[in-house]
Structure formats: structure tokens, C-alpha cells
Symmetry: C2
DNA sequence: CTATGTGAATTTATTCACAGCA
DNA sequence: TGCTGTGAATAAATTCACATAG
């Protein structure tokens, strides 16, 4: 394996592979060939092999990939092999869905704090987390939280972002349907449901 | 403008542009140059111009783009200029968040039916929609619903998919964290929060 | 003989640079 | 003069084809 810049697209596919591998593991499978795995995750076999090859030689020629070993490698590559503490801002419908979402645990994320402005919500305990007033967000610095999740209405998004940045997070998962401004070194991933929804009709056959 | 196959990436960006334009419209702006718009949506100006150029000449040289006119064009390109009826399957945390989500209206989606298996939820009225038993999903065919939204746990996802396909939807928005199998002509867009989340640590600076 | 790993070829997407129009 | 629209150049990602290892 020579040096190669790793394509962003490869990084985007790794979680897809991981999801598939974890599923196969649950099913009790031990190993799988790139061809069979390709059918399973809907990605070409040569694409799968190339993606893995950027990071090393994880397979066995003539056999395939060891599912357990490979999934561990992907955890490591994506830095999911250590626990990441996260803080949630906004405990509305979406925030509650995020707190209840089982996917976070799978990838070693731990939501250790939740904030809101609504007095009715403050003090409530949801899934081991007590909702605090948003002004308390400064105290996060001591807790070594490196991830922020924004689930507030659009108008409050930038304010929530600034608070999280001040609190020292290194990455933000933004569920608000707006662009948020952050210092360059902080990575933001925006999940705007409407954004994905809006391109669905384009691909649907005409009625 | 000569014929060009339209890149998928362009289609992916159109909703981003649309979101920006709608925001500017709210602010009362009339027109904008590709350069200013570029700063606003974080896409290069030449990329913006090229993207629009695939569909026609929407701007005025020396001036820029008329915001109202351009947003209307994007609505038309993405086929968002007609109302799309949608059916929601699964009224749990995520399903409720989807029902409450204001973004659907903006893009002319109308959730006209909701289904669940939980007897406690059936019959309840949420946001103008009465939750029905999932067995009633067959009746959708008469209602001309062309979009299905899956917000059920992973194990129920394929079953929900099959029901929606039988009911005649042409597109599916899948919130389940699994791959779903559909006939080729049906477009599926999967929104798996964990999938986006899982690539965040990779891009975060080391602690 | 099977299935991986990887340079090379091809395809796709982005960026440039400037012609063309208001 | 200013900003769009677009072929041409460049960069990035995918696909191929086959050498290589179990």
C-alpha cells in the first residue's frame, strides 16, 4: 500500500460498511467476500476493496474479510474506538428523538448533558440526562465534552453554536435547517431532513 | 446551453441553494450575485453558475440573479412546484418529530396519513392526521399518495417498505438504520443519523 | 483456483479563464 | 464595467484488469 490521499467519499462509505458488518455479526457470520458484501450494502466489490486498501490489507486472498476484525479496524479508522461525550442543545421533538436514538451507543457516543431554554423542561430527567438551563453550558469545559448536537429552531441555532464553541467542542452535529458559522478547525455536519427530502421528487417517475 | 447530463452532485446542491434563496427572500432581498450568494451558502461562485447553467440562463449579466424567479425555477426543476402527498409509517419519537417538522410544508409535501401498530396510538389525532392501523395502508392507492416515510424500528422496516410499495408510492424517505430492498424504479433516500454522526470524529482534531 | 490489492484507464465533477451580454 | 454562461483544463473518484497471495 503506497500513500494515497483518502477520498472523502471513502470516509462517507465507511459507516455504511460498518453498519453492514455489525448486522452480519449479529447474524453470526464470521467472514464475507467483497462480492457478497457488495450485494449486501449496494456498493461495487472493487469499490469496497479499494476503499479498504487505503488503510491496509484487511482481507485474506482466496477467502475474504473477517467480519469482526474488519469492523474493529473501521472503528479505529473513524476514531469510534474511544467514547465521545456529547452535549445536546434543544430538547424539543427532535431532541427527544435524538436522546432515544439507539444508534449513538453503537458508535460509542455518550450524551452526558442536555440543555434547553424552556423552564418546563429544565430539571426533567430523560434517559439518565437532566435537562439544564442553557446558561449552564459554559460548565461543559470541565467535562471534556467534544461533541455538540444542535436541535433547536433555526433562529436559535447560531447562538447555540457559539455557546458550544465557547464550551470547547471539536465537532457539531447540526439538525437545524440553516447554515451555522464556526471557527475553521471545528467540523460541522448538518443533517437537514428537508434537504434530502427535496431531491426525492426529482428522481421519482412522473405521475 | 448545450445538452449535458446533469451531475447528481448538482441535484444535491439545488436544495441547499433553495434554502438560501428562501431565507434571502424572507429578509426582503430582491437579487444577488453568484459571488455574494457563494459566501452565503458556502459553495464557489463558478460552481453555482455552472449548476444553474445546466437548466438554462436564469441570471442577468452585470446584475446577478433575481431571487424570486430563481427559487421558482428550482422548485420546478426539483418538481416541488406540485403538492406531494405523503404517508408516514411509525409514530414513535422520530415519527412525531417528522409530523411536527415545518420543512415539509415549505417544499409542498403534505403528510395525509400516518400508520402504527401500537393500539394506544391508533385513533389519536396529531397535526390534522389520525393515526391508523398499519393494515389500512392498502387503502392508500385510492388517495394518490406518492411518497412514503419510514420511521419504524429496523426490524419492521422491510415490512413497512413492502406495504408502501404495494400501496403504490414512487419514492421513500427511510429513517431506519438499515438498507431496504425496493423495485428498481422506486427511489429511496435513507437518512441514517448514525451514518453522519459516525464520520464526525474522523474529522475532529485529536484531543 | 479463488478472492484480494492496486496501478492504469476511464468516467465524473470541479475549477479556470474568458467570451458575451446588460 | 460587472457579472453571467460555458468550453477547456484540471482534479477527483470510479472502474477495470490483472498480478499476487492463500
Amino acid at each position: 500500500m503506497r500513500y494515497h490521499k483518502i477520498p472523502d467519499e471513502t470516509i462517507r462509505r465507511l459507516p455504511v460498511y460498518l453498519r453492514g458488518l455489525l448486522f452480519l455479526l449479529e447474524e453470526g457470520r464470521q467472514s464475507i467476500s467483497s462480492r457478497d458484501f457488495a450485494d449486501f450494502v449496494s456498493v461495487n466489490p472493487w469499490q469496497i476493496r479499494k476503499d479498504f486498501s487505503y488503510f491496509g490489507e484487511f482481507g485474506t486472498r482466496g477467502v475474504g474479510y473477517d467480519i469482526k476484525k474488519l469492523s474493529k479496524q473501521i472503528y479505529k479508522i473513524l476514531k469510534l474506538d474511544v467514547v465521545h461525550k456529547a452535549a445536546l442543545v434543544g430538547v424539543g421533538n427532535l431532541g427527544l428523538a435524538v436522546l432515544a436514538y439507539p444508534g449513538f451507543g453503537t458508535y460509542n457516543f455518550d450524551i452526558v448533558a442536555a440543555f434547553d431554554t424552556d423552564r418546563k423542561k429544565i430539571g426533567k430527567k430523560i434517559k439518565d440526562v437532566t435537562v439544564e438551563d442553557i446558561s449552564k453550558i459554559r460548565a461543559l469545559k470541565r467535562k471534556k465534552i467534544d461533541l455538540g448536537i444542535i436541535a433547536v429552531p433555526r433562529k436559535a441555532a447560531q447562538e447555540a453554536t457559539d455557546a458550544l464553541v465557547t464550551a470547547g467542542v471539536k465537532g457539531i452535529l447540526n439538525f437545524s435547517s440553516c447554515h451555522i458559522a464556526v471557527p475553521k478547525k471545528i467540523k460541522v455536519i448538518t443533517i437537514d431532513i428537508a434537504m434530502d427530502l427535496a431531491r426525492l421528487p426529482y428522481y421519482m417517475p412522473a405521475s
